[in-house]
Structures are given as structure tokens and as C-alpha cells.
Symmetry: C2
């Protein structure tokens, strides 16, 4: 994330954003996709997800397979359970079908995909048979007017570069709709520069290199409109601004962080105080780029979210800030956490606030009582933990190259388990894979026991976010590169 | 709060607590009280709450009135609004009727109070006419079997000692049912000593001096059973244990606090991790008294709460921990907060998690979607802020006498507004009073616009907590004494 740097007066209320070159579908509130419960009769749908063979943690590492070579194989991930979990998730649209198990592949559920689907929906390198049809499960629910869409059969976008971590259990995703990517990229830059004055000119390259458009389009394939995608994009940029400017790379520090984060948190969870002191607080929200970004992104969000969705988001952001503060405390006191301590911290300093807005971005609501169920909380936590370890793995070399010590799972494992850097990294991959399997097993079980449309769609949305997040890390070669362990 | 001190192995799952000398009502799920919407037609119910005349912030202070002398006067709190707010809240049971305004007092709503109401319900020193009848609004919803209750008309408990802060806008409460107080006191001590080994023997006096039984019975007059009260009592004790042992008086420190609090938070919001690392985390929850207390109190709570109520509580606890961490950051960096900054921090380092469980303790549920409404969030925040400033005012001399610098509102006002200690204290009273008026106005408005039984009862529950909290501070002369400013 770029360093916002410049400070200025408070930001005016955000203007309503005019439609860009890709006007939104008229009424964005998308109905729940008509996915029958059978879509989650997962035991009958053994479409194994894509995975590279897991490299042994000792011995000669295998040559890294070229991405996305392993798609059509009935690859089983080593070390994970073979129950519900492994068969569970093409939820988010992995179209990979295992040719070796055709007899047990039930007819995939095909939701009427509009002929004018917005952009290519082809799985990179995967087959184009039955499997790809299931992708439309995650495609926009409302067909766009033809006049605003590219031609019905655009040429597929070229596969993005970037290599997956060898052995990492993951699902390839369709190349994000390039038209949407471009439009989100255009609008988010305008928001960052004109509405919240997020960064000085010299950081423009870093902002572009973050590829927020690709990130959010890839993570929210079911967003009904670009306006919905912008909700996610603004929040993601704001979260990164706070992290960078308050905590990390761009002027951040663990010293005094608790005070800064709390005051920033009031941009999300407002202060209710006396008439005399309210104006100074209001003014503070415009006093630096992170707070301007939080406030503006939240303003947009609450206008599209239900109160319960806003409450859920505030809670997840409080968790995130607690996670930042634990990490900061350990940095200040030179505490080397145990592996379990690190994993606990990382459940809070976590992507969780991003997948859990999937329903708002999708134009529907997972009811609060269903969100609060322990089974759903477990699914969300496991998904967040898996995505966050993905970040640890892809940002490993970047963090090693940064000044100071950056905690991440391979580093902690190397220290606490006395492993070589390579073995620690491979062990972290193993931990990630178990978290992914646990997530998928828990999601499949919940979908089977509670096949309500909003639950099923939410679970698919979280899974889509997990997969999109991995794909963004894999393809963001501007930010990330893999270590030389294979 | 006593210092738990002793450490030990992990705690076994809490046993189900046998009924004590006051067995619980058989089926504790209390139906909503049949309070008609008319109960909140507050414009027609100008029953001014009790308040001492507000002392001028300059000039000769008036002699402190003896508590509770000012009850029957039609006192108006200076500096507060005279709209909805001032007429709003005898919600929680202030029985004080202003004799000077008899013409405008509408017939108070009397909810069928069982003849065998558990304990005296008389307002201390107040009239026994129309006003006191409204008290039964906050009385237990379920009549107790006569065989388990004291005689129908026990002698009123003697008024507790302790003086209210002069000029503080507040509502007297009925003397808490002494039978319940005794039973909660007995059970909570057994829990603290036998189940979570909270403190070493030498701190027993401090534990008793906290008067948790009186506190919780006073704050939850509508709890259907002692089991329900115990939910609140355990959480309150656990919260104080964490605050004292991690943050403040008994071994606490701002240094490294973020790590400790996050790990403690996982006792409320569990870790979901791999099979290899889950056992170490599980074990950690038994490794010190604060975590043992959090875990056990939460275990009991989630068994009585709905998932949404548990989610709400976790969110409020995350807020609380963020507040602790902001305060700690300021202590570490010697930051003298602006008044508005202090008020923002104090909205998080706040009693909020206590009143917001009023529905669980009352045996009903405020639905999640109603809880999340912005109007309800505002009511809750204002109530929490008022109660928290009450704590600042009553603990002022205690904190001045403690080693180190303790931030509280009078101290911050004195520094930032360059006021004398006395004037700063009186200004803090003024701020409290405005917060209370704002709370009451917001609650009355919400009740008028959304007169659903669960909303109305929740608002009354929060108001009861606010009043009970004040009364506990006023009467806890073991902990608190007022400064000599009058």
C-alpha cells in the first residue's frame, strides 16, 4: 500500500459516484441465486480441487509444476482429511472436474447464466466441459443490459503470470472480468486521490501495483454491480492504509499504536458524546489519510449494508485492531511467540473483515442469527485463517527483505520448532492446507445441515473470496515473489 | 478487585451449580413483560427523576445534601436539555414523583407485581405513592414459588450508607433484594475460589469488599432467577480480574498488554486452528486466573445466551480491550489526551459489556437486528458512557491516591482546560449529566418509535443497569469516597 503522506482538512461527504464506463445494472439488489440444496450434496460431487502434489518436508524437493498444470488430475492433497472436506469445495467456482472419476460426478447445478455474462468465465487451463458450467454459480445474478456489456463471447483474457506456492492446496479461479477490473481500478483511484487524498503523487506506482481492481473482482465474482465491488474496494484500500501508516511500512510503529487505532476505529464505530466535544472528534476523522479513508469507505458501506451487516463489520474490524495490537506488543517487548500464540494472533490480525462482507457486496444478507451460529463462526474463522497464512507464504520474501523483524508463520516455526527456513516454510504450507481442509469440511457440513439459500450463497461467497485472495497473491508479482526452496 | 495471584493447572469444565438456599424458579425463560407502548408515551409522564441541585461550577459550593434528601423536589438538572430527555427515564424504576406537578402525572403503568415480590421494592426515602408502583416494571417477571421465598412482606432493608456526588443526575433504586444479594455473594465466592481459583487467601477481604452480589442484584432487578444473576456476576468478576491483573492494580502493566489481552480474548472468542496446535491453546486458558475466569464465565454465559447474544458480547469485549489498549498506549507514551480523545477512549474502556447482557440475564432476547439499529447503538453507547463517567467520579480520590498517574475525566479536564481540581470535577459532573440526558432522550425516542416488547424491556433493562451501577458506586464506601469539594 502506498503511503498516503499528505494531510489536509476534513473530507466533504462523499458524492454519489456517477456511473463509469460500465454502468451498473439498474436495480442492484440481487435475489438469492436459486441454488438447490442438492448443490451441496457434496458427497455425490467428488470434484477434487486443484492441488499440486505436496512436496515432502525432507528429501529432494520436486520441481515446481508450472501453474496451472495440475488441474485435470485427481490430485489429493497429502496430510489433509479425506472426508467431507476434500470433496467439498468447488463452491466458489472451480470448474476442475477430475476425469478419472467421471462415474461419480453428478450433474452440476447450472444456474441460468446470461448469454451476455460479463467477461470470460473460463478456468485457466482447466477443461471446458461440465465443470466450467458450475462456475456460473458465482456469476452476477442479474444480467446486464447488452448495450453496456462487451460482446457475448469476448476473447478469454490471457492467464496472468505468477506461480502458486508448490504444494499449496488451492482452487484456481476464472480470470477476473477485465472490464470490471478496469472500471474498479479507475474508480478506486479517483476515490483515493480526489475523495480521501490518500497518497502523495510519488506513491502512485505502489497504489497501481496493489491491483485492487483485480483483487476485488476476483474475490467477489457474484457482485451484482460495480457499485457493489466498490464497497469492498474502498474498505480494502482503507484497511491497508491504516495498516501501513499506523502499524507498518509507511510511517507506522508499534509505539503508541493503541491510541491511534482506537481513534481510527471511531471512524467505523462512532463516538456518542456531548455537544461540546463532538465537533473536535468529527474534525479528527478528516485529519489524516487513514481516518479519511476509513470514514469514507464506511460511509459508503453503511448506505448499502443492513445495520446487522455494519455491526458485523465493526466487530471484525475490532478483532483486526486487536490483532495489530498484539503483534505490536510482541514487537515492543521482543516476545517470540509460540506457534499456537502466533496462530491465535493471526486469527485476529486477519483478512476476516474482507470475506465477511461478501453478502453485502453480493447484494443480499446472511441474517444475523445465522451469522452468529457457532458453526458459521467456525467456518469464517477457518477461512480467514487459511487466507491469512496464504499471505504469510506469499509475502515471506518481501518481509524478509524489509527492515526489522516481521513475524510470519515460517519465521515463527523456524524459531520455535528449530527448523531450517525451507522446512519451516513447508511446514507452514502444511498448516495452511489443514486449515483449508478444515474450512471446507466445516462449510460442507453446515451447508448440508442448514441448506438455506442465504447460508449456501454466503458459504460460496466466502469460498470465492478465499480462492480469489489466493489468486491475487499468486499473480501479484509486483509485490510478491516465492522463496527459492524448490 | 483482588489479585488472583496463584496459578494452577487448567480448570475442569464447570459443574452445574446446585441450587443454593434460594432455589431458582423452575423454568427461567421469562416472557416479555406485558408493558404497553403507553408506558413510553413519555411526554405524558413528566415524572422528573431525582437530582440534587447542580452546584455552580464557580462560586461558593452548596452544602452537600444528605442522600437521599432531594427526592420529593421537582428538581431540574441544570445544563441539561428540557425536552424528551428530562421527562424520560423513570424507566428503571425511579419512583420519585414530583408533587409540584401532580396535574400532569398520568396514571403510571403497573405491571402485575406478584404479591410475593422477592424483597423490598421501596425507593429509599422517596414517597410511597404513585411513583413507587412503577418500580414493579423492573421486578422479576416470574413469581417465585412461595415456599422458596421470604415472607411476603419482609421488613425493608435499611438504607445503605454512602453519599451521591452532589449535583449528579441520577435515579435512586430500590434496595437490592437482600436474600438474592446474599445468595449471589455466596455462590460467586464459591465459584471464584473453587472453580477458577481466582485469588489467594489474603485478597479475600477485597473480594468481599467489591460487593458483587449487591452490584448485580441492583443492576438486574428483572432477572428471573439467581442462576441468571450469576451469569452477570461471573462475567463482572472475570472482567475485573483481567483489568486488575493484566492492566492495572494487581500486577498489571501497559507493557506488552496487547499480547496478553489478545490471548485472554480467545477465552471468549475461540481459536480455530490445526489439531497440532489446538491443545496448547486450550491449555493456556487454564494457565492464569484471568483466563480461567474469562473461560468459565463465558462457558456459563453461552449456555444461557443465544448465539447472537454471545456474538454481541464478544464484540463489546473486543471494544473493551481496544479501550484498555488505547489507555495503555497513552500511558506508555506519556500522551495527555484531549478531552474528546479521552471521551472516545472511555467509550471503549467502558461498562458497555455489562448493560448489554441485560436481556440474557433477564431471560429474553433483544433480536440481533433490533440491537444493531443505529438508534439502539446510540442509546447503548450513551448509557455506557454515562455509567463510565460515574466510575470516574466515584473513583477519583481512589485513583489520585494510587501510585502512578490515572487518567480520569476530572484529571483530563484539569489539564486540558486548565481548571482547578474542583472546577474540573464539577465540569465532569456536567458532562455526565448531559450524557445521561442524551441517553434518556434517545431511549425515549426509540421506545416511542419502536414499541416492541423486547425493545422496551431492553431499554428498561439498560436504564436499570445505569441506575444500579450508580447506586453500587454510591454505596460502596469500602472502595470509594468523594473528594472534599463541597
Amino acid at each position: 500500500m502506498p503511503d498516503p503522506g499528505a494531510r489536509g482538512p476534513s473530507v466533504p461527504a462523499p458524492p454519489s459516484e456517477p456511473a463509469g464506463t460500465v454502468p451498473d445494472v439498474p436495480t442492484p439488489s440481487a435475489p438469492d441465486l436459486p441454488i438447490p440444496a442438492a448443490a451441496f450434496a457434496l458427497a455425490a460431487m467428488p470434484r477434487p480441487p486443484v492441488a499440486h502434489p505436496f512436496p515432502p518436508s525432507t528429501g529432494t524437493p520436486p520441481a515446481p509444476p508450472s501453474e496451472p498444470a495440475a488441474v485435470p488430475t485427481a490430485a489429493r492433497v497429502l496430510g489433509g482429511p479425506t472426508g467431507l472436506g476434500t470433496t467439498a469445495l468447488s463452491l466458489a467456482g472451480s470448474g476442475a472436474v477430475a476425469p478419472s472419476e467421471p462415474a461419480s460426478v453428478s450433474e452440476p447445478v447450472i444456474v441460468s447464466a446470461p448469454a451476455i455474462a460479463p467477461g470470460p468465465q473460463r478456468v485457466l487451463g482447466g477443461p471446458s466441459g461440465l465443470g466450467t458450467a458450475s462456475l456460473s454459480l458465482a456469476s452476477p445474478a442479474s444480467p446486464a443490459p447488452t448495450s453496456h456489456r462487451p460482446s457475448p463471447e469476448p476473447a478469454p483474457a490471457p492467464p496472468a503470470e505468477g506461480q502458486a506456492v508448490p504444494g499449496l492446496y488451492h482452487h484456481p479461479v476464472p480470470e477476473p472480468d477485465p472490464v470490471r477490473v478496469e472500471e474498479v481500478s479507475r474508480r478506486i483511484k479517483r476515490w483515493a486521490e480526489d475523495e480521501v487524498r490518500l497518497y502523495p503523487e510519488e506513491w502512485e506506482g505502489q497504489f497501481d501495483g496493489f491491483s485492487i481492481g483485480r483483487y476485488m473482482v476476483g474475490c467477489h465474482p457474484d457482485a451484482p454491480t460495480v457499485d457493489h465491488l466498490m464497497i469492498a474496494a474502498r474498505l480494502m484500500v482503507a484497511e491497508n492504509a491504516v495498516d501501513d501508516c499506523y502499524c507498518e511500512d509507511h510511517g507506522g510503529s508499534p509505539v503508541g499504536l493503541g491510541g491511534r487505532l482506537l481513534l481510527a476505529h471511531t471512524a467505523l464505530d462512532p463516538l456518542h458524546t456531548t455537544q461540546e466535544y463532538a465537533p473536535a472528534w468529527e474534525e479528527s476523522l478528516g485529519s489524516d489519510p487513514p481516518r479519511r479513508a476509513y470514514r469514507s469507505a464506511m460511509d459508503y458501506f453503511v448506505r448499502m449494508a443492513t445495520p446487522s451487516q455494519a455491526d458485523r463489520f465493526r466487530h471484525d474490524m475490532a478483532r483486526l485492531h486487536l490483532g495489530y495490537l498484539a503483534e505490536a506488543a510482541w514487537a515492543e517487548t521482543d516476545h517470540d511467540p509460540e506457534v499456537w500464540e502466533y496462530l491465535a494472533m493471526r486469527q485476529f490480525n486477519n483478512f476476516r473483515p474482507c470475506p465477511t462482507i461478501t453478502d453485502t457486496v453480493g447484494g443480499y444478507e446472511l441474517p444475523a442469527d445465522l451469522h452468529a451460529r457457532p458453526e458459521m463462526q467456525r467456518v469464517i474463522a477457518l477461512a480467514g485463517n487459511a487466507t491469512t497464512i496464504v499471505n504469510d507464504l506469499y509475502s515471506y520474501t518481501k518481509e524478509l527483505a524489509s527492515p526489522g523483524k516481521h513475524l510470519n508463520l515460517p519465521v515463527v516455526l523456524a524459531e520455535r520448532r528449530q527448523l531450517s527456513e525451507r522446512d519451516a516454510y513447508l511446514k507452514a504450507v502444511e498448516i495452511h492446507n489443514e486449515l483449508m481442509h478444515s474450512f471446507e469440511a466445516a462449510a460442507a457440513e453446515l451447508a448440508a445441515h442448514c441448506p438455506l439459500p442465504s447460508v449456501v450463497r454466503f458459504l460460496k461467497g466466502v469460498a470465492a473470496w478465499v480462492d480469489g485472495n489466493h489468486d491475487w497473491h499468486r499473480t501479484n508479482t509486483y509485490r510478491y515473489s516465492l522463496p527459492d526452496f524448490w
